[in-house]
């Protein structure tokens, strides 16, 4: 086999069984790998009504066919499980080196089943797989865990692990690899914690083979030239993702103070330009990346001193304008803490913003404030509350359940800015209609990255669409969702799509695997994955009623700034979205659509 390694590793933590199975070639061809293969295996093996933190949930780590090759910016892996935060199918994507390490060790997927009696970690070195005691590691933060595991296994091993947050089942706990890279959304770190799995160390020496080296090289160089010429990709390299703060603010769609508004006058202080000037130390890149959007950030301000990676735009937004904070040092420090504790850097600060909103609106009783000074624009608060959430201490214990359950506990779920109970990211759906539809229909809940219409609604990458328009947006949202799913399934980073198009990915995949993929085949693989995820969610009990946004976005217009007065029109776009998707009026994939996608 070329591209794929041909083996799936299955580890049962309840009985210690380690088995290796051949990769199903038909599944690989149809679902590619990573998100696609992970979702296929998961939906085949796990009941949709499974309790996410029970031993019956499974945790699948899967790299893609591109992972471990020099396909540009395509060295990623995906984690799949049922999300304890949303109860939808959960999938989180991460870069770093871990995905490539899994390929070199010889695996297209690692399936973790059951639950260990006591804390364990896995050491995977090529064919050799050990389940080792991790009781001495339990409680360690992510950096110390990574160092300790390497010291006991191999200095060059790639380590994916959870921090205290995952151990304590915080519903926005992440899985971190290479310390700073994050499979963040959906609380999959809590699934790992519920299995008492502290870390996975991987090292491999096997080759990823290529069907047609000459064709692959030609396709890669052609693709690289496109990425090198793309201004968005180049901007990402120079300034990282934080550059977006200012443009979102200038169009008046930067959600501010828990979406009470969408314009933040001092946004520039936490924008990419300020990041570059005040805290940027070096640029960093994931495996095989040609963009290197990663920021190594170092804070010299003694109050918030430290070094780490980030903040990315969503984290910078959530700790910044969403909490009313404009202190770049505090924002950067809080983001570092998320990586160190193993927390999703969108859901955590967005939950903090909800807490602040509830406190300042009088619905969070003072005796529950845990001695904290809860108000907007408090830089110390965002750092301290992050710590308490990661360690589930004091107010952090309840907040660790995420903003929806927290707000619901106090009888006010309307304060939670979530879609399917996952905190929405940094683009105001009242000012930008397409991204609102993406939030409402995304299979893993409030998420931007699985259908990043911002590229054409705000960034002007190629096509320029009016963010305020609803016309034509359903088809655009579907196109982004399908293409992203294909890129995810092949192991790519979506930033590669600033430059590369389906033709490029299809050419590389064909040369690598020896299977001919047309650009349409490639995108259809993505559509296939999307529909399979949708089916799972429907079986889990979701309906069209759940394809929606918080009331605030329909009833409470933006208050100030250039987008003043706007609201979201998602409900008007849904019927057309179901129609272009080939679903019925209840948002259920029709038999014809499933047949077309070879799902039935």
């Amino acid at each position: 086999m070329t591209g794929w390694m041909g083996t799936i590793l299955r580890i049962n933590l309840s009985n210690g069984a380690v088995t290796k199975e051949p990769l199903n070639a038909k599944d690989a061809a149809l679902f590619l790998g990573a998100r696609g293969l992970g979702v296929k295996i998961f939906t085949d093996e796990v009941d949709a009504k499974v309790e996410p933190l029970s031993p019956e949930n499974k945790l699948i780590f899967a790299p893609g066919p591109f992972t471990g090759t020099s396909a540009p910016s395509a060295g990623r892996y995906h984690v799949v499980a049922k999300s304890p935060l949303t109860h939808t199918i959960g999938g989180a994507n991460s870069g770093g080196v871990f995905g490539a390490a899994l390929k070199y060790a010889g695996y297209d997927a690692v399936i973790i089943e059951g639950k260990a009696e006591k804390a364990v970690y896995l050491w995977i070195k090529d064919d050799q797989v050990e389940i080792r005691d991790a009781s001495h590691l339990w409680g360690k933060w992510v950096p110390d865990t990574t160092d300790a595991v390497r010291a006991e296994t191999d200095d060059d091993a790639s380590v994916a692990c959870i921090g205290p947050a995952g151990e304590k089942l915080a519903l926005m706990a992440s899985i971190q690899n290479e310390m700073h890279r994050s499979a963040g959304r959906g609380g999959l770190g809590a699934v790992m914690g519920s299995k008492k799995l502290k870390a996975i160390a991987v090292k491999g020496s096997k080759p990823v083979r290529v069907a047609d080296v000459k064709a692959l090289e030609a396709a890669i160089w052609s693709a690289r030239a496109k990425v090198a010429a793309n201004p968005v990709a180049q901007g990402l390299h120079k300034h990282g993702t934080e550059i977006l703060v200012n443009i979102l603010n200038e169009i008046g769609s930067l959600p501010t103070r828990n979406w009470n508004d969408a314009h933040f006058p001092t946004a520039d202080k936490v924008g990419g330009e300020s990041l570059t000037k005040e805290v940027l130390a070096r640029r960093k890149g994931c495996f095989a990346c040609v963009i290197s959007c990663g920021r190594v950030s170092q804070i010299k301000d003694p109050e918030f001193a430290g070094i780490g990676e980030g903040p990315e735009y969503e984290a910078g937004w959530a700790y910044g304008p969403d909490c009313g904070v404009d202190n770049i040092f505090a924002v950067t420090k809080a983001n570092h803490l998320c990586n160190e504790l193993g927390l999703d850097s969108i859901s955590t600060p967005a939950t903090i913003a909800c807490v602040i909103d509830m406190a300042t609106s009088g619905v969070l009783p003072r005796e529950d404030w845990d001695g904290l000074d809860i108000r907007w624009n408090n830089p110390e608060l965002i750092v301290e509350l992050t710590k308490r959430i990661g360690l589930r201490q004091g107010l952090g214990d309840k907040a660790a359940l995420g903003s929806y359950r927290f707000a619901e506990m106090y009888g006010h779920p309307e304060f939670a800015m979530t879609a399917k109970k996952q905190e929405m990211p940094a683009y105001d759906a009242r000012g930008i209609q397409g991204i609102g539809l993406q939030y409402a229909t995304c299979n893993r809940g409030g998420c931007h990255v699985k259908g990043y219409t911002i590229a054409v609604e705000v960034l002007g990458n190629g096509l320029r669409l009016d963010p305020r328009e609803t016309k034509g947006k359903p088809a655009i949202v579907k196109a982004f969702q399908d293409m992203t799913a294909a890129v995810d399934a092949s192991g790519g980073c979506i930033f590669g799509t600033f430059g590369m198009v389906a033709d490029d990915y299809a050419a590389m995949l064909s040369a690598l695997t020896g299977i001919h993929y047309s650009p349409e085949d490639y995108v259809r693989a993505g559509e296939r994955v999307w529909n399979l995820e949708r089916e799972f969610n429907l079986n889990a009990g979701f309906t069209a009623k759940d394809d929606t946004l918080p009331e605030r976005l329909f009833k409470h217009p933006i208050q100030t700034g250039p987008s003043k007065g706007l609201v979201s029109h998602v409900p008007e776009m849904l019927p057309e979205y179901y129609s272009v998707r080939g679903w019925n009026e209840q948002g259920v994939p029709t038999p014809e659509k499933l047949h077309e996608l070879e799902l039935a």
Binding site: P231, V232, A233, G235, L236, K238, H239, T241, E242, I243, L244, N246, I247, L248, E250, I251, G252, D268, G271, G272, E273, C293, E312, Y313, E314, A426, H448, V449, Y452, I454, A455, L459, G460, N461, R464, D466, R468, I494, F495, F498, G561, P562, S563
Partner: protein, 90 residues
């Protein structure tokens, strides 16, 4: 009117984040021409021949000129004009 600069545009405008433009210009194209004369490095960045560079976004009061009237978008004395390079987030 106020002109604001962002990202890589700032160094091209002599490092300015923003400036007050006291010369009322009738429309965007004319304003950009005048800005280019004031800041030479900016002039090269703004234009691809006689067209506005495809790697530039111009906002007038928060709206992209792509959805107003392009370079012919009229300007009022208290307008805010933003000059953005095409870049990204995530």
């Amino acid at each position: 009117m106020t002109v604001k600069y962002f990202g890589d545009i700032r160094p091209l405008a002599g490092g300015l984040k923003q400036e007050e433009w006291r010369h009322p210009e009738p429309e965007v194209g004319v304003l950009l021409g005048a800005l280019g004369k004031r800041h030479k490095p900016l002039e090269k960045r703004l234009w691809e021949g006689s067209q506005l560079s495809s790697t530039i976004i111009i906002l007038v009061n928060g709206r992209s000129i792509d959805f107003l009237n392009g370079l012919q978008t009229p300007l009022a004395p208290d307008d805010i004009v933003d000059v953005f390079p095409v870049e990204a987030g995530g």
